[in-house]
Symmetry: C2
Subunit: 220 residues, 2 copies
Amino acid sequence: MHEIAIESQVLSDNALAAHHNREHFREHGVYVLNLMSGPGAGKTTLLERTIQSLRPRYRLAVIEGDVQGRTDADRIGRLGVEVRQINTGHACHLDARLVHRELDSLRLSDLDVLLIENVGNLVCPAEFDLGEHDKAMILSVTEGHDKPEKYPVMFHVARALVISKIDLLPYVDFDMERAKKQARALNLDLEIFPLSAKTGDGMDAFISWLESRITRVKGA
Amino acid sequence: MHEIAIESQVLSDNALAAHHNREHFREHGVYVLNLMSGPGAGKTTLLERTIQSLRPRYRLAVIEGDVQGRTDADRIGRLGVEVRQINTGHACHLDARLVHRELDSLRLSDLDVLLIENVGNLVCPAEFDLGEHDKAMILSVTEGHDKPEKYPVMFHVARALVISKIDLLPYVDFDMERAKKQARALNLDLEIFPLSAKTGDGMDAFISWLESRITRVKGA
């Protein structure tokens, strides 16, 4: 008890809340992915494709983080999965407490996978652990290959990098090898998935990776 | 430039300093390990063994973090590698700024590997990114198998877990499978190395893993 008391005093509020979330996820065997990107990189479209691929085999729910509005939640809701909208108001990122408030109503015992779409922002969400198993980030080829240099923390904390909108590669000046190399320099374990959620090209590799992660949680 | 200015305002001071350190390490191709544990788990003994194993092939230096004193630095210095002692005074952990101050005098261009021994503490160091490539933590079998439950953040952020002092397993009540299972529940990618730095049993696997990580950095 003494050691736990010390930890409560010292850990940041968010780290403690993230730990509580993680306990809930572990108790119910729910795999949780925190999906992050700048605005317009294609998080919601990737989510739609991902839900369609996983839904035949897993019980899914989604948390949508936005500063305001519920456009994305409505899109995802049309796929027939449980969705919770979190509006952060002034905050540019989700935090573990905001996520925790939604967990009761989501009935974790009825879920296999929880997908969290963070606020569109390449900076702040990187520093807030939500209790997820993996952080995935999306960089679209239209944003440019220089982003690892500009947003190093996000590339450092992500477990997977989706390089999205590769159907637009012929029309933009995006150096795939340079982007990959610089991202890996920030993160030795980064898994990189170039794909187009629009055409479906490359989706299989990303879904296979997700399934391997889900299996690791369910099998643990 | 605009985006970088925003990031400077928003990221925590430590995240920014860690990023600067990471840039230095990347520029010079230096692999950096942040070694953490509670007091007396055997960090310095593991470091000594590790240095002996790696020194024939790599140019090494060590940063020793302690609240006060330089006992560990003196031990490591006797092995003939460069050592810098950081005394944190009132702080219970190293931070990225403290590490940054030592980098100039360490001449990174002459190094392959920098090993950082953090302050003996299973709580606070977990939340401070130093710019390292990997965090490794040590849990000794004499501390007990319940530590993943008590120190979840440390187990969550570590890339490798060394379970040390396995030569004492016959004399203590330590459930190895339970410790592994609970640690993996907090961290899907955790590499676990049961070993005795005293007898050398299990050291090979840990050293092989370190070499694979060094190779990834040097080959990037």
